[in-house]
Symmetry: C2
Subunit: 195 residues, 2 copies
DNA sequence: GCAATTATTGAACGCATATTCAATAATTGT
DNA sequence: ACAATTATTGAATATGCGTTCAATAATTGC
C-alpha cells in the first residue's frame, strides 16, 4: 500500500559503524554518513532518529561482533589456559593489524563522550562486564584444571586482564612495535603454571 | 617603545590546559578559550599561532606537571618497593578523585586525535617513554634490594605497569567503584616479595 | 488507472566553528 | 607632545555542522 525501502537497513548500519569506528562520533559528519551509505539525510533520519541514535545502534552492532569473537576464543575445545591465551593472541593481533586508528570502538567511545552521557557509559560498562565475566569463568576452569598458579583469584585477575586489554590498546596508539605488546602479553600469561 | 602585554602568558596557558583537559581538543571551542582566558580571539591568536598550537603547548605543560608528580613519588627516600607503591596509590587516587572526565590528558589525546597526527602522537609517546624509564629504573633498584620477585624483568614489567596505568584509566571511566581499581593495583603489586 | 501511502530527494535552515583584520588603545623613546 | 610600535578589540568571514521539510517518486490495494 506504500512505497517500500530501497536500502538494506543492516548494510547501512554496518557502513555507519565502520565510519564511527575509524573516525569517532564527533569526527564522523552526517555528510560522511551520507557519502558512505548512499542515503540522503532525510532517509537516514527517517531510518534512525538522528546521528546519536545511529551511533548507539552502531555500538550495539560492534559489541555483537566483538562478543562473538570473544566467545569463539573462550569456547574452543581446548584447555582453559589455551583458550585464554588464544583470546589474548587475538587481542594483540587485532591491535597490531589495525593500520588506521581502528582500535576498540567501545574504548574510544568511553574516552570520547562527555561525562554526562551516562546512558552510553553504563551501556558500554555492562558490555565489558559481560566479557569480564566470561574471562573470569574460564580462569575458574583453569584453576580447577590446575593450570592457574595458586593464590590467583579469577575474579580479580579477570579485572587485571581487562585492564591490560585496555592498556595495550592505548599502548598500540603509541608504538607499533610488535614486541612490546607481545612482551606485555607473555608477562601476563605468567599467571599460568609452567610444567 | 610599544604597548606591553596586559596578560600573563603562563596563566593563559594554564587556563587553556584545564579546558582541554576537561573537554578535549575538539570539545573545546575558541569561544570557550576566550571566555576562560579573558583574551579576545585576536590576542589569543597573536600569543599562540592558533588553537592547535595552543593545544600542543598545553600538552607540554601537562606533562611537566605530571612528570614532576611521578618524580616526586619515585625519588622519595624510601625503599624502591615503597616508591612504586606510592606511585600507584597516586595514580589510582587520581582516577578515583576525578569527578569530571579529568583522566589523563595525554591518554585522552592519544585516543582522540586522528591517525595522521603523527607529530603529536610521537611526542606523547616519548613522554610516556620517559615515565616508563623511571619506573624501570626503580624496579631495577628493587631487584638489587631483593624486594622484586625473582624472574621478573624490570624492562618488561615497567611496560606492563604502564599498560595497567592506561587500563585503569579506561576502567575508571566505567565504574567509580573504589575497590575495583584497588584490587587491580594490589594484584599488580604482587610482583614484590612477601617477607 | 486511480487514490492512498510511504520513501526519497536535496536544498534550505539556524547555529557554531576557527580564523582574520581594520579600527582603536596604550605604551615608550625622543 | 609626538611618532613609532605593538596590543587589544570584536565584528566579519567563510566554512561546516546536524537537522528539517516541501516537493517528488514509487509502490500497492482497490
Amino acid at each position: 500500500m506504500a512505497r517500500p525501502h530501497t536500502y538494506n537497513r543492516q548494510h547501512v548500519l554496518e557502513a555507519a559503524m565502520q565510519l564511527f569506528w575509524y573516525k569517532g562520533y564527533e569526527g564522523t559528519s552526517v555528510k560522511d554518513l551520507v557519502d558512505a551509505t548512499g542515503l540522503q539525510p532525510g532517509s537516514l533520519y527517517s531510518a534512525f532518529e538522528n546521528k546519536r541514535q545511529l551511533f548507539c545502534e552502531s555500538l550495539e552492532l560492534y559489541f555483537e561482533l566483538l562478543y562473538a569473537e570473544v566467545k569463539g576464543a573462550l569456547e574452543a575445545e581446548t584447555s582453559a589456559e589455551k583458550r585464554i591465551r588464544t583470546l589474548f593472541d587475538k587481542v594483540v593481533m587485532g591491535y597490531l593489524m589495525s593500520t588506521e586508528n581502528k582500535s576498540c570502538l567501545l574504548v574510544n567511545t568511553l574516552l570520547e563522550i562527555p561525562f554526562d552521557e551516562k546512558e552510553i557509559r553504563s551501556r558500554i560498562s555492562s558490555m565489558f562486564n559481560k566479557i569480564e565475566k566470561e574471562i573470569c569463568n574460564v580462569l575458574g576452569e583453569a584453576r580447577i584444571q590446575g593450570s592457574l598458579k595458586p593464590g590467583i583469584s579469577p575474579e580479580i585477575m579477570s579485572k587485571t586482564l581487562m585492564s591490560n586489554i585496555f592498556g595495550m590498546e592505548v599502548y598500540s596508539h603509541m608504538s607499533q612495535d610488535e614486541n612490546e605488546l607481545k612482551q606485555i602479553m607473555n608477562n601476563l600469561m605468567c599467571i599460568f603454571e609452567i610444567n
